[in-house]
């Protein structure tokens, strides 16, 4: 295919991917009259920040945003704190029989569980632990969600680091832990960053568990808050799209920062996994 044609096709695909998002952005910036105007106003409108004000200053969305930030960051940290050592353990040590393979597979299989299977028992579990309607419940659940991915990705990255480096350090008196922290981790920093970003995105975007495990606004995250504006009779389009735009910004920013590594990490994990 000729070069011009290919670039044109790529452009069409680009527009197709981005247009709905752009439209959402315009709805959040248009006055209500403009929102419903026909012909649709793609570019010719006077922007207003009223909806952002409605959603965040006088509405509850700043609360939802804060909750999402807390839950996503803490659960990512926890997933890394638990998952990185686990991945290291699986990658570096000799395991009896084929336990390493079996364990890895089991870990991965928990990711395959349809959420619907676990949601009611988890609801009851959280109720017993008095963690219902709390951010802590979501942190625990999201950590468990992300662990398989962390272990899978980091195992691949660790396998790329030659054992000799740690062995040399340990000969010099460094502990296993120290070697991991001081020698290996700095080497896999890009992979670690990509993994962390992926965990953040998963936790940030999650909906079903946040929906069921929260009962009042103190525990609701952004996706739940946005969904709760989709009412039976009317949709508060302005506030909802403003919230939607804010909800997607952190993800887009983070993802663009680690785009390259994400691709590499996924393909590495694919080859090893």
């Amino acid at each position: 295919m000729s070069k011009v044609l290919r670039y044109f096709a790529a452009l069409i695909a680009f527009v197709y991917a981005v247009a709905p998002v752009y439209w959402l952005l315009t709805i959040s910036l248009k006055s209500e009259v403009d929102q419903f105007a026909w012909p649709p106003k793609w570019f010719t409108f006077t922007p207003t920040l009223q909806h952002y004000y409605d959603a965040f200053a006088s509405g509850s969305f700043s609360r939802f945003f804060g909750n999402s930030v807390i839950v996503a960051s803490v659960s990512t940290l926890a997933a890394l704190a638990l998952g990185v050592p686990a991945a290291y353990g699986l990658a570096r040590f000799a395991w009896p029989r084929d336990w390493a393979q079996g364990l890895s597979f089991w870990v991965l299989s928990t990711r395959m569980l349809p959420p619907i299977v676990t949601i009611v028992p988890l609801f009851l579990m959280m109720r017993e632990l008095h963690l219902l309607n709390s951010l802590a419940a979501l942190v625990v659940v999201y950590t468990a969600f992300n662990l398989p991915f962390v272990i899978w990705m980091m195992r691949g990255f660790f396998a790329e680091v030659p054992k000799e480096l740690e062995e040399a350090a340990m000969l010099d008196g460094e502990s296993r832990m120290g070697a991991l922290w001081r020698i290996v981790l700095p080497l896999v920093r890009p992979g670690l960053a990509a993994t962390a970003v992926f965990c953040l995105i998963v936790a940030w975007n999650e909906f079903l568990f946040a929906l069921i495990l929260s009962q009042t606004e103190s525990a609701m995250t952004l996706p739940v808050g946005i969904a709760s504006r989709v009412t039976q009779y009317e949709i508060k389009w302005g506030a909802m799209s403003a919230a939607g735009v804010v909800a997607m910004l952190p993800v887009l920013i983070f993802a663009s920062a680690v785009q390259k590594h994400l691709v590499r990490g996924l393909s590495l994990g694919a080859v090893k996994g």
Partner: protein, 290 residues
């Protein structure tokens, strides 16, 4: 028996990596094994209390369950096929560009990064029959949009919902297939080109076979997620109108949280899980063979 325990104990001592993995494994076990066991118990408890197979028996004759399974299959197959073909085309296309690759790639990835709830909300706005931009643009082109009700029309609802999935998740396949393409060494392609092979032949005989493991992985991952699809449909149509877009996850959700029948919902989830696992095995086997 005792020998087995003794050898297990010995193996345990050899597993030096275990303390490293223990906390992670512990958390995962707590949050996956207990719920599974509980769910099994609930699925075998009749509505009057006490042990009963009634929920599993009901599955065999429940019209709505069968319809939801069928709809899940249709949704998954349609979305998967288009997403794969489109994703592959885009991967090949972008890979072939010499400049601006990363800009295009960044833009193309946007849909899958959004929270599915936000994507669904954006499309609900777009699909609105009276005020949405889709009908707005079609009207400008002269089409009669009074019958185009997208997600509120029983016939068009499924297609509308599948289209959203395609928009949102083609980037995922695009990403994986791009990564796979990048990992292909250039030599076989060079060699084939020097032998005078056409582009089509290179694609079919060289690239695709080398891409097979990535394709298998991509299809598998996406298929698994498609079969449990929930978020988007929930926001777009809540499974409606009526039952038109009710996939198994939504029916299970409705049964559990609206009809307050956890036992039946649990039974359905297990059967659903079973079907998904069987399908995954089948897919893997198929990919290995071909």
């Amino acid at each position: 028996m005792i020998g087995r325990i003794a050898s297990f104990r010995a193996a345990l001592k050899q597993a030096h990596g275990l303390p490293w993995a223990a906390p992670a494994v512990g958390l995962l076990a707590a949050l996956s094994i207990y719920p599974m066991v509980f769910s099994i118990k609930v699925s075998l408890t009749g509505q009057a209390g006490g042990f009963s197979f009634e929920h599993y028996l009901r599955l065999l004759t429940d019209r709505f369950f069968l319809i939801s399974v069928w709809q899940t299959v249709i949704y998954s197959l349609a979305a998967l096929t288009v997403e794969f073909l489109l994703g592959l085309t885009l991967a090949l296309l972008i890979d072939s560009l010499t400049r601006g690759k990363s800009i295009f790639r960044a833009g193309l990835l946007v849909p899958m990064l959004l929270p599915p709830v936000v994507a669904a909300v954006a499309w609900r706005l777009i699909y609105n029959p009276q005020f949405g931009v889709l009908n707005g643009m079609l009207k400008m082109a002269g089409a009669d949009t009074s019958r185009l009700t997208w997600t509120s029309g029983e016939g068009a609802a499924m297609i509308s919902v599948i289209l959203v999935d395609i928009w949102e998740w083609t980037p995922f396949l695009f990403l994986l297939l791009s990564a796979g393409l990048q990992a292909i060494p250039p030599d076989p392609i060079e060699a084939a080109r020097m032998d005078g092979a056409s582009n089509w032949q290179i694609l079919w005989d060289v690239i695709l076979p080398l891409l097979k493991p990535t394709i298998a992985l991509a299809l598998l991952l996406r298929a698994m997620d498609l079969m449990r699809i929930f978020d988007q449909i929930f926001i777009l149509t809540q499974g409606g109108p009526g039952f038109a877009t009710e996939t198994t996850s939504l029916y299970i959700y409705r049964t559990a949280f609206r009809f307050y029948n956890f036992g039946y919902a649990a039974a359905m989830s297990f059967v659903g899980l079973l079907l998904t696992t069987l399908f995954a095995r089948g897919l893997l086997r198929f990919m290995r063979v071909s």
